[in-house]
Structure formats: structure tokens, C-alpha cells
Subunit: 292 residues, 4 copies
């Protein structure tokens, strides 16, 4: 791949790590939005936003792009960076890549004919992110359980990317792995990979066997009725984004230990997480080059 000029704009420490990885591959990297980062970093921030944009072939925004739909998510910047102002300055020969753009930014970027890309829409990134998510979940289980995962009965609720990756790793460590799913084709894959399949509507009948439950389904799946049947010495780890899949209040009432673990990749394996971002950005850039 030809060397490029990247501009990393805002974001947290993962963005700094990303900037380093991009530079290690021989690219030129500018940063903007870190005037207040407080630790030594290897980059000198460009003070002028215009100069920053002008000197970047690819502008990499934060992940998520914004919390208020108006300004970039730039926790290490002293001021506010208004999204629309920046987007207006980006030319159509440049690429704008960030995470979780949201309808409003997408609409504005489209109207301005930007070549923009949402990292969270990239299938390969969600697949790869499932790896540190699964490993982080297993780390929590190891820390919290008085028994080994090896030999334990581990229930994985949901067979999406995280569920599938988690099931594979649990099995690899030696857990007796049960996967709860809804679709016949999921059952077929679960059988093919050698796990025990549990129809989600029969979860209540089997859940008492669980030593640890990993939920990946993003709606209430462990409600009162099922929690009642969970053993008191079972650990529940919820990996589902808000509102989560566990009635945490009821679980507490029933004295069941729960952990709600979100955004694991950046927490448990920040370097791997940054590497996944970099690879995905590389894929986007290569595809765009291929179009020319």
C-alpha cells in the first residue's frame, strides 16, 4: 500500500495508540484534539485545524464519533470541535473515517458529498472485536469464579459474533459449552462445532446447570423467571450493550453475582483493539484505491 498522510482527530488513548500503529507502517501522521492529553506522546499536535485537514489524505475521527451529535468526542481537547465545521472543510479527494456516525452526521456528510465511512458498519471489525471481547469476558470469569473454567458448565446466550467466538474459546479451555439460540440454523452450527445447543425458550429448564452464564443478547433475557432458577453460586457476565440482558436488581435480590462488562476490547487489550482499528482503516483505504 502506498504511504499516506493520516490525520487522527480526537478520541481517547486508543486513538493515540492507533496513530502510533499507522505511523509504524511508514505513513505520516498528524494529530489534532489532544492539546490536553497530560501524558507524553510521540506526536506534535498541529495547532491549526485548517493546516491539519489540508495535510491529511485520510481523516480518522473518534470512536464513537460524538456523544452530543454536535461536537467530536475529544476528551483530551481543551475546547470543543464542531463536527459540521470540520466536515465542511474536507475535500472529496479525502476520506473521513470514524465510528458510529449516527443519522445526522451521515446526512450532513452525504449532502456535502464526502467520502465517509463508519467503522462500526464494517463487518470485519465487529468480527475481530469479538476476540478481545470474548477474552475479556473469560478473564472476568477466571477472576470471579472459585473454580476453573475447565470442567465448568458455561452457558453462552446468543450465537452472534461474540457468542460464537466466546463458545470457541471456552471450549478451547475445556469448559462444557452450552449455547442458547433461537434459529434452527444456529442449532446446526452449534452442533457442527460440538457445543450443546439449548433452545432459548427452554433456557429455564437447563439454566440450573450453569456455573457461569455469558449473555450477548441485547434485550432482557435473564428476567425474574429464569433468574429464579439460576444457582446462587453461578456467575453472570453480561456483554450486551444497554439496556443489557439481565434484570440486575432481581439478580441482586436473589444473591446472584453479576458483572456488566462493556467496551471490553479497549479495556483488556488496548493494543489489540487499536490494531483492529488500523487493519479496518487499511481495508477501507485499499478498497478506495482499488476503485480508482
Amino acid at each position: 500500500m502506498n504511504k499516506k498522510r493520516y490525520g487522527v482527530l480526537g478520541g481517547d488513548l486508543r486513538s493515540i495508540k492507533l496513530a502510533e500503529l499507522i505511523e509504524e507502517e511508514g505513513n505520516h501522521v498528524n494529530i489534532y484534539g489532544f492539546d490536553n492529553v497530560g501524558i507524553d506522546i510521540n506526536f506534535k499536535e498541529i495547532k491549526s485545524i485548517d493546516e491539519f485537514i489540508e495535510n491529511s489524505d485520510i481523516i480518522v475521527g473518534p470512536l464513537p464519533c460524538s456523544y452530543d451529535k454536535e461536537t467530536f468526542n475529544a476528551p483530551y481537547h481543551s475546547g470543543k470541535i464542531y463536527i459540521k465545521e470540520i466536515l465542511k472543510k474536507i475535500k472529496d479527494k479525502q476520506l473521513f473515517i470514524a465510528g458510529k456516525l449516527g443519522d445526522e452526521i451521515v446526512k450532513f456528510a452525504s449532502l456535502n458529498n464526502l467520502r465517509f465511512f463508519d467503522l462500526l458498519e464494517r463487518e470485519e471489525m465487529t468480527v475481530l472485536n469479538a476476540i478481545p471481547t470474548a477474552e475479556g469476558a473469560i478473564q472476568i470469569a477466571m477472576e470471579e469464579m472459585p473454580v476453573t473454567i475447565h470442567g465448568s458448565k458455561a452457558f453462552v446466550l446468543g450465537f452472534g459474533r461474540v457468542g460464537e467466538t466466546l463458545a470457541k474459546m471456552l471450549n478451547g479451555i475445556g469448559a462444557k459449552t452450552y449455547v442458547a439460540a433461537r434459529k434452527h440454523s444456529d442449532f446446526a452450527w452449534i452442533k457442527s462445532y460440538g457445543y450443546s445447543a439449548v433452545p432459548i425458550n427452554e433456557l429455564g429448564e437447563h439454566i440450573k446447570d450453569a456455573d457461569v452464564i455469558f449473555n450477548t443478547i441485547p434485550h432482557l433475557i435473564l428476567g425474574k423467571d429464569i433468574l429464579k432458577r439460576v444457582r446462587k453460586d453461578c456467575l453472570i457476565i453480561d456483554l450486551a450493550s444497554k439496556p443489557g440482558g439481565v434484570d440486575f436488581e432481581k439478580a441482586e435480590e436473589y444473591n446472584i453475582k453479576t458483572k456488566w462488562a462493556l467496551s471490553l476490547p479497549g479495556k483488556v487489550a488496548p493494543l489489540t483493539a487499536a490494531g483492529i482499528l488500523k487493519d479496518t482503516i487499511n481495508n477501507i483505504v485499499k478498497e478506495q484505491e482499488g476503485l480508482k
Copy 2:
């Protein structure tokens, strides 16, 4: 599941095996279309097609349903069984299930308000069929290669259901497993499962490493240019349906051993294959019961 009356209509020995499995689960089974089967079977064929249909809640046709779009695929029947004639007799409280119906039969069945189902459209069946397909392919490789699969470099072309299942099994036996694919998300899964990913457009650069190649891609992928680089002692097994993915003439010219292996499930594991049919039919029947 409530016991039912099944009518198995036409098909080959796998259909007989299927009839046995359905009966073993406590259902009543009629058969029709086997007056010339030539071996002892446990079923007495109903002579009247009207009686046969009348006494069946579920009519299970052959797989594939027809080779000529007009008559049922019934190699063990002395006469012809015309599809449309039969379909006209089926009532809307009955189910009609067969494999690979084709546009014409689908159209006719729709116009007649039949409740009909194509087994080959069932995702769970294709996933489960990948298991005997993969095992059959491995059996052929074991028979034909002078070295063990363990330690060999095995290339799997394509990462669909068969490719994924095959890669898992090869890895499980101890092959060094390479998977050639095209999509970034496939590369992500290949990496996640620990195989080596090869972009399909770079296949030519890596193929000389292969001790055995399993193709699952149903169009010409191993043409002249790539075959030139395949080692003479490499075995190629093509699992892709017609027209296949290998230029067999060129391969012969280059003295490379090839095997075109189709319809493996019924050949290498007929009982497993019949069991998959039965499970899929059970799923359809349960779903239809659930709708009521």
C-alpha cells in the same frame, strides 16, 4: 411432538432410510413409488395413490424432486408419477415437503394454495449436510494421499458452509489449514478460528505450498494459470457442484491428480444424511404446528 402420518413418495434408498427413521420416532409411515425397489424393506407400499395421499398428513417427496420438471424422481418405481397430478390431490391441511422444487413446481404449488416446503432452502439442512460432505472429502484425501493429513498443508477454497466445516475438521486432525476467501469479514473469521487466510486473488502465489486442495467455490477457480503452479504431488478435490471449480482437462495435462466429489452425504454417510432430512422435516412440521 404429536405423532403424525407421513407419506414418503419416491426417491432413492435414502428416502427408505428416512421412512424408517420417521417411523422409529413413533409416527405412521406410508410409502409410494417403490414397487420396484428390489430389496427387502419394512414397508408395505400402498397401491392406490389416492389412498396414499388421503392417509398422509405430511407428504415427503424426493430430493431432488424431479429431473424433468414433470415427473417425480422415483428410480424404484415401475411407472411415471406426474407431479401436477399429485399436487392437485393434496389438501391445504396437508404439508408437501421435497427437495429442489424448481420454479415451475413452486409456481404450480402456489397457485394451488399448497403448503409446500423446499428442503434445500432450509439453512439448517445445508449447514448440517456440510458435515458429511466435509468428512467425505477428508476420507477421499486420506485414501488418495501418500502422507497423513496431519502435518499436511491443506488449502480450502471458499469459506461458505462446507469450507468452514472442512477447515474446522482439517485443523482438528492436525493439518496446517489455509483458507482462501474474498471478503474482509471472512478473513476476520478465518483469523479468529486460527487458520491462515489467503486472499483469493493471491492464490497463485501461495498454491505451490499445498499438499491437498479442497475447492468449494462453484465457478472456475483453479484454471490454467493457477494449476501451472500447483505441485505435481498435490491432490485436488473439487466439492463444487457443476460446472465445478477446476479445469480438469488442464489438470490432467499437468499430471495433477483430481477428484470431483459430488453428493457426498448420501454416499459416505447415508444414515447421517437421512437423519438430517428427518430433523429438517421435523423442524418444518413443528414450525407449522406452532403457527396454528
Copy 3:
């Protein structure tokens, strides 16, 4: 197995947990040596040592049995319990089981015709203990590394019980697993299981690839010369008992992060560890019954 009367004598909280597990299997359990345990436990301690011994078919001492060769290892007892005094009271129809007896205790027990058993001499216990040891080591690696174990290059030094178990689990999570060993037969097994074999005398040439190193060899293996070649971002986890296999001072000088992790089973999975003790004790008891 017939129900028995067990006497658990001294030891730490793992011994209490062990007492509970033995009782859960329907046996009668006495304890002695916990008058100062400080937490609520389900057992009432027998005050008289004579009564305690008289009422026990099997006396289970601590693990290790003693730190001073004279008194039992009984950290939760207010007084001292002299080993020889106790052993003299044990009859030949009783069994005495403890861990790491040492030459002196063995000699005394032999002279007194005791039926005694050292848990640490039981092969099955060391094999099973390798499981929580390996899992604990992996937990530490997950906690300390900024990357996932999946995809990392993990070096396991030594292919004994812990090395073999660790290699299997690392591979199961998706690490690229290298095992350093000395014997040709070990290389054969390493190859058979699909890991990469590194002759221990060539370790220096390969060690720079390592993202994490797990040492299981109980003598200095990672000395100055090899440490020099270890990458600064590599983590070293030493699982070898004293004196360990790492020159920790040199490692610190070279700025390499090290962890010396001993007695992992009791720390990371106390319930599993107690279960392993129980199973091993059960095996001994069954074997002794079989002899009669």
C-alpha cells in the same frame, strides 16, 4: 464407595473446603486444628485429639504436612500439634494421608507400620493440579498483557504436566503456541499436538518472537544471555517452584516485566483445588478397600 469417618487435621482454608466436600458425599467428618480459624465454619471441632483420632477411619493431614518437620502445618490452631505424637496414636486399620511428608515423617511412619500416603506422590493429583495452574497462568497473562492471548506468540518452556496442559489451553484460546523442550520424544508429542517445537538449546534464537513466556522448568533457564534477547514488551510468567527459572534481577535490569506465580490452584480456583484433593483421597481409599 462406603461412607467413612474422616478426620481433617490442620491445614488452611483449603482443608476446610475439603472437609465440606467430603461431607457432601455423605461421609462423617471431624476436624481438629482449627480452634482459631476466625470465620464461621460448619464443623464443630473435637476438643480431644484422642477422641478425634479414634473416631476417624481416615486422617487427612495438611498440605504441605509440615514446615518444620516437627509440627503439623496448622495456621488456624492456637497451639502446636506434634506430628510424632499424633502418628503414634494412629492404628494400622486407619489411613493417614497428607501432602509432602518428607523423609523424616516417612521414616517414622514406616517404623510405626502406618498406612500412610503422600498426596504429592500421586500422579493423578499433579496432572489435575496442572489445570488450575495453567488457567491461573493464563489469567495473569490476560491481566498483564495489552494484547489478546489470541494471536499472540506464547512460549511454554518445559513439556511436563503443566507445560502440556498450558500449551493445550493457549492453543485453545488461539495463541500461536511454541513449546521449548529437550527430548526427541517431547518434540514428537509437540508436533503431534500441533504446536511449534523449539529445542531448548536453540531458545535464544527464537525467543525474540515471544509475546509472553511461561516457564515451567525448575532451574535457571532464562538467564542473562537469553533475557538479553527477550523483547521489552514481552511478559514472563514463571511457574517453577523455588529457585524458579528466571534471573529476576537481570530481567528487572532489562526492563522486562516478570511475574513469579506459585501455588496457583489454591489461589485462583480454591474450590477446584479442594475437589482435586478430595478425588485423590477417594482414589487412595478405594484402592485400599480393593486390597482387602
Copy 4:
């Protein structure tokens, strides 16, 4: 390793293959004992045995060395080659390597101060040979069973080298793997690797579950009483050398299909088998060089 002069003396086609592999590594290779081989081979046989021995640093005899304790096992030679005559001509700077020497040859070689080595005594060779043995056994199972190995209940009797290797591969393909063994430490490993352990003396109670049984124990283990409980549709593959572990007559009487599969490596993977010989010979040669 320095290049050497090898002399391959007698043996079957595997010895020819071995000669080729040794030559491919850059060594000089002479052969003797193939004047009647009947196929084109790349080597010109030295006609004079004295010249043959004189020009060989390492003399590689057949495997097994002899069937009559007197002459070499040389099926492709027109005359007889007397072992003692040859051994007398070998000098002490030369190495003599063959398989299964037997007491008499060992005694004679010792008296003559030969540096001789029995391949079958090499642990690494038996470990590596377990790989083609296991794969060959699986191939037979695939060919003979009407169901897939995936999902089948496979019983492995014995947990030696072949048993362990076979269990791993069966598990890797997706079989439900049961291992019957006798020792507590074997049970520990079986549990550690995630298979189901069956105490050999309880085999009768579990054997009815088996879809396929692989025996590796070289004495009668599947006698009348256990065979009675084996299902009629179960396949038995005996891998144990004579007298084998199955009462074949009883099995036939009970209509149970059996296969006695011996010497699989050379049959199912001759090239792998020759490679294992070569690697083992290399190890011996390297060790001897190291001694100087």
C-alpha cells in the same frame, strides 16, 4: 548436519522411499538387497557387499530386521543376506541402525562392539508413528460406517501413544470421545483433554453406547461378555498387534463388524512413514555426532 554416506540394506518399498528422502537432504546413498525390485528406482545397486559396507558411514537395515533371526528381511533380493556375515564386516566408526533387532542380533552386535540402534526402541518414532496409525484407523471408520464420525460416540480402549493420538483426532473431527483406561493418572489426563473417561473394568456398562470402538490394548479386552453388550451396528477396529484385543470369532457369531488393522503407517501413509524413519535416523546420527 554434515552430509554422510548412507547404505540402505534390504527392506521393502518403504526402505526405497527412505533412501530417496535421505538423498534429498544432500547425503550420498548406496543400496543393497534390491536386485529384484521389479520397478524403476533411482538408485543403482552396488553389487559387492564389501564395497557397499566400506562406502557407508551409516548402514540402515530393514524394519523389522529379520523374520528368521538369521537373514535380513529383504523381499526384493534374489538371494539370502546373512546377518552375522554382514555385522562382522561393520567397523566401529560406522553405525548400524535397523528395526526390531531381537535378542540374538543384539547379543551378537554387542559382542562385536558394534554401534547399533533399534528404531523400535526410539520413543520419538513410536510417538510419531501413532499419527499415521490413528489417521489410518479413522479412514477405516469413515469407509465402514454409515454415519459420520462427527457426532458419533467413539470409544478408544487404552491411552498409550496410539490411544492418546486417536482420541485427539476423533475429538478434532467432532466425535464424542470416550477413553477406557485403568490408571488414575490416565483418567486425569483424559479429563484434562476433555474426553469422557471409562474405567476399563466398567467397560461393559458403557459399551452399548459405542458407535465405533478402537482397541489399542494388546490383550483380550473385547471378549465374549463385553461383545454381548456391543450394539450390532457398532464397528470394532482393532489396532493391537497379535494376538489382538478382540475375540474375532465371537464377534462374527454376534454379527458385529470387525476390522483388524495392523502396520497402518506403511499402508495408509507410506511417505509419512518413511519420513518418520528418516527423522529418527537423523536424531540417532546427531546424538552420536554430539558424543564425539
